[in-house]
């Protein structure tokens, strides 16, 4: 195929212990480490491997968000992407607006394959890929753990609750990456230098004329209900009797 498009979202790093702001207006993101959404790193790694196998010619990465997302796009270029597009807007959009913006990029770029993450680990929405596929009227293969190509179609193994499903989709298609699809490579210093010269185009979101979508209002943020710290037992006998006390044995 000619081109693969990969979505990279800038999110709070998965190692950060996220805290809710005291006034309930959001979560603390000030001064917190930001990274490429882990599933998107996997999506990009897969695209790069497909290209390295000679099954694709170009890998284009796209992020929708503030200018800060350039950092994550540079990292993506250092991993090996050929070109980056930043769709600029004050903050990352809701999934439907995001999917609509991605659709505009898809119309410009005409990729045979779009690989997104299965979910962004900030809002945990898991919607964008499915929505893009719907709006584009193309197949979706979500939660992918294996991808193989055969001419104009792809065979995708999907991780589902009951085990694995295998489906076949005609290209172009949208695939969303699950954790076990691959293990992303580490970026090497010389690649970071080289990435500085790769093209990074900026497009204001407004220029894509995405219609307004009925946003879901976020009214209040709170910490999850805490579980009370329980008891410690010394040995197996203590455990068995504690379970009996609770009526669990």
């Amino acid at each position: 195929m000619e081109k693969i498009l990969v979505g990279l979202k800038r999110v709070v790093d998965y190692n950060v212990r996220v805290r809710v702001k005291g006034d309930g207006s959001g979560v603390e993101t000030e001064g917190v480490k930001m990274s490429i959404n882990p599933f998107d790193e996997i999506a990009l790694e897969e695209a790069l491997r497909i290209k390295e196998r000679g099954e694709a010619n170009e890998v284009v990465i796209v992020s929708i968000g503030s200018g800060d997302a350039q950092q994550q796009l540079r990292t993506g270029l250092a991993m090996g992407a050929d070109r980056a597009i930043l769709v600029e807007t004050a903050e990352a959009p809701d999934p439907l607006s995001g999917a609509r913006a991605l659709l505009e990029i898809v119309k410009r770029e005409n990729p045979e394959l779009v690989i997104l993450g299965k979910q962004a680990i900030d809002d945990d929405n898991s919607q964008t890929g499915q929505m893009l596929a719907a709006l584009w009227d193309r197949p979706q293969a979500t939660f992918a753990s294996k991808l193989e190509f055969d001419g104009n179609s792809a065979r995708v193994t999907r991780e589902v609750d009951a085990g694995l499903d295998i489906i076949e989709v005609d290209l172009p298609a949208v695939v969303t990456a699950d954790l076990r699809l691959n293990e992303p490579r580490y970026v090497k210093l010389p690649d970071i230098m080289k990435a500085k010269k790769k093209p990074l185009d900026q497009v204001p979101l407004a220029e894509l004329s995405v219609p307004d979508s009925p946003a879901i209002a976020e009214k209040n943020f709170e910490p999850p209900a805490a579980r009370e710290r329980g008891i410690m037992v010394d040995d197996v006998a203590g455990l068995v009797s504690a379970l009996k006390d609770k009526g669990l044995l």
Partner: protein
């Protein structure tokens, strides 16, 4: 009256227990009138099962070969055909619902609420974000349908005993042929299903090998428990992926959960926080799992677990 369309999940022969939990969620909407839609190759038995569930007004059933494998690209246009007049369209927050519902939402031009965990009002709900590190209260604007996936671990299944009418649907949405179901590889097991088991025993990276996981199986057999695992254990190949519990695995709410050699990463904890009693066995007294455990035991699993299995004899 608030009309709810609820998409049933099934395995081709019987209804998935998550459906009854989604119904419990929908029933909390003020004035809810709940229709359950069943799309299946052969829908009869599944629809009949859905009709027995409390709070169900009608079961709508649609049959066809194209429904094999529950492909979102096939189902979503059918649901959109049905959607007119429904104020709410709900599905479970399982891989089935997560795959399907956003496709429906996009075709209807609305956003979706993912992992709805509580109903706070007609259009106000709560949902977890950041792997459960925060809970956000969300409100859907008026004039558009509320599309949601329901975090089933947050709800107790409705009872049976109902006999709702079943109506056959005659839908005519075009069936796409760009997506084809090939096969399912599901681990056949006689053990209780992880998601509905009242007891679950889970092992982590500390087990060290597929063979050593036998310790977990033996304890689970003694307790008639379902079996789970951390992502680390799945990634290491000790057990298949369907056993993974957590943010990117299954979300469970058993009465008893026993975590063995699992450190308690936030991504794991989000999958078990609704468990009745959490037991942790870990050799590191500083392991974060002890912060959420109701009963903790510091010790080497390789001696503690066989001893516990023996003690339950």
């Amino acid at each position: 009256m608030a009309k709810v369309l609820l998409i049933a999940e099934h395995d081709g022969t019987s209804l998935n227990p998550n459906t009854a939990k989604c119904i419990a969620c929908a029933a909390q909407i003020p004035g809810a009138e709940i229709d359950v839609a069943v799309f299946a190759e052969t829908a009869g038995d599944i629809a009949a099962e859905a009709a027995t569930l409390d709070s169900v007004a009608r079961v709508l059933s649609s049959e066809g070969e194209a429904y094999r494998g529950a492909l979102a690209a096939v189902l979503a246009p059918q649901i959109v055909k049905l959607a007119d007049g429904y104020e709410y369209i709900f599905g479970p927050s399982t891989t089935f619902g997560k795959d399907l519902m956003p496709r429906v939402a996009a075709l209807l031009g609305v956003n979706q609420i993912s992992d709805l965990m509580s109903v706070e009002g007609e259009r106000t709900f709560k949902r977890p974000i950041y792997a459960g590190s925060a809970v956000v209260t969300v409100e859907v604007p008026g004039g558009v349908p509320v599309i949601a996936t329901v975090r089933t671990a947050s709800f107790r299944a409705v009872a049976g005993g109902n006999s709702a009418p079943v109506e056959a649907l005659d839908l005519a949405a075009e069936m796409p042929d760009h997506t084809r179901f090939i096969a399912s590889e599901t681990g056949k097991s006689d053990r209780p299903d992880l998601q509905s088991a009242s007891r679950v025993v889970a092992g982590g990276r500390a087990l060290g090998s597929e063979e050593n996981f036998d310790l977990i199986y033996k304890l689970a057999d003694r307790l008639e428990a379902g079996i789970g695992a951390s992502r680390a254990a799945v990634d290491a190949g000790y057990v298949p992926n369907e056993m993974q519990i957590g943010q990117t695995g299954r979300i469970i709410a058993p009465d008893l959960y026993i975590a063995i050699g699992i450190s308690g990463a936030i991504q794991h904890l989000t999958g078990i926080k609704d468990a009745g009693t959490i037991v942790a066995i870990n050799k590191d007294e500083e392991a974060p799992i002890f912060e959420v455990a109701d009963i903790g035991l510091v010790g080497d699993l390789f001696s503690v677990v066989p001893e516990l299995t023996e003690a339950l004899n």
